[in-house]
Symmetry: C2
Subunit: 208 residues, 2 copies
């Protein structure tokens, strides 16, 4: 299982600073959506240049102009770009076609998708690489977790890899590991932990 | 009626260059989603600094972390930020609360919203400022236009302003004007026209 570190509420210099200690525990560095709004795809470029041995994900949450926006991310060095599972399948298809041209990957963020049983086969048919269940930050504040959604997704996903995100930390990691996702996405559970390196170490160990 | 110029497939220096000739015709400058991915919110900052008399919209298409992402845009000088109408109402509410704190505005992008009759009253109840019907670029390539959607939205919108986007140009503008939206959003219809200034002039005149 891979550990994806979601960097959301940081500037570029802070993110690079945090990675100095954390990179040994991380498989995929995520340039989170707010980080991308703040710094643009330059963040992807600099992180990939600094850590070419790590994969980098650009959390663009693409909703339209799939091929064009995916290319912006891939050209900056992203290994993965995210597209919203709730968008038009034309847009998802544009991302997939661009990924295939550049030999990169597409992760679908299933945030707010209600009809998983119906959407997952459509998304897999298009050839997406990863399906991610995601309880948003605003939903977490209302007390929700992605555990039930992960159970549902593992039931329906037949081909794509499975990822999970949404408030996971070193205390709750085991419940997710038990469901055997391919990628576990952790952000504040590491970055806002009292000891971020220790949290990363514990989580990485739980995944291995 | 206001003219919103959507700048999508440009870098920051190209956008500033294009605005030199186009700014007299424009009410709202939109930092489009791909432009935002490319340049980050620095694009909002520099455009607002260069044209403080114009309004600037940051097309972040917020899907989560409403208050936080809206603040990123507003702090950079955006007068409006966009949130996706398809997302959780918790996220829309976060954007609205942040807008009210900073005395700015929220535009809801209704792209891919199927149940307009149901969503519009929910969004207006939360206090959003503008509702925008939007036929995405990928959908336009499949032959769709936002004209029917605009007719539907004007039927259901009771309080919010109404905007329309999706492939509008100087030849099709009159059909939209006839439905009296508050904001007409044009991108490639101006920027990719043979004569962008003439296209902007014709469209601006149609709106007045």
């Amino acid at each position: 299982m891979k550990l994806q570190l979601a960097m959301d509420e940081l500037g570029l210099s802070e993110a690079l600073e945090a990675l100095k200690e954390l990179h040994p525990y991380v498989d995929i560095v995520e340039v989170g959506t707010p980080f991308l709004i703040d710094a643009g795809r330059e963040a992807v470029r600099q992180i990939k240049e600094s850590y070419p041995e790590l994969e980098v994900l650009c959390d663009a949450k693409i909703m339209d102009a799939g091929a064009y926006e995916a290319q912006l991310a891939y050209d900056a060095g992203a290994d993965y770009v995210t597209v919203l599972g709730i968008t038009d399948m034309l847009t998802v298809n544009g991302c997939v076609e661009q990924a295939q041209k550049q030999e990169r990957q597409v992760m679908v963020d299933l945030i707010c998708v209600q009809n998983v049983a119906e959407r997952v086969p459509m998304l897999e048919e298009l050839g997406v690489d990863v399906l991610a269940v995601h309880t948003g930050a605003d939903q977490q504040h209302a007390g929700r977790t992605p555990l039930e959604d992960l159970k549902e997704l593992t039931h329906y996903a037949k081909k794509a890899q499975v990822a999970v995100a949404g408030g996971i930390n070193s205390e709750t990691i085991d419940a997710y590991v038990a469901l055997k996702p391919d990628i576990v996405i952790v952000g504040s559970g590491i970055l806002n932990a009292e000891d971020p390196v220790e949290a990363a170490r514990v989580i990485k160990k739980a995944l291995s």
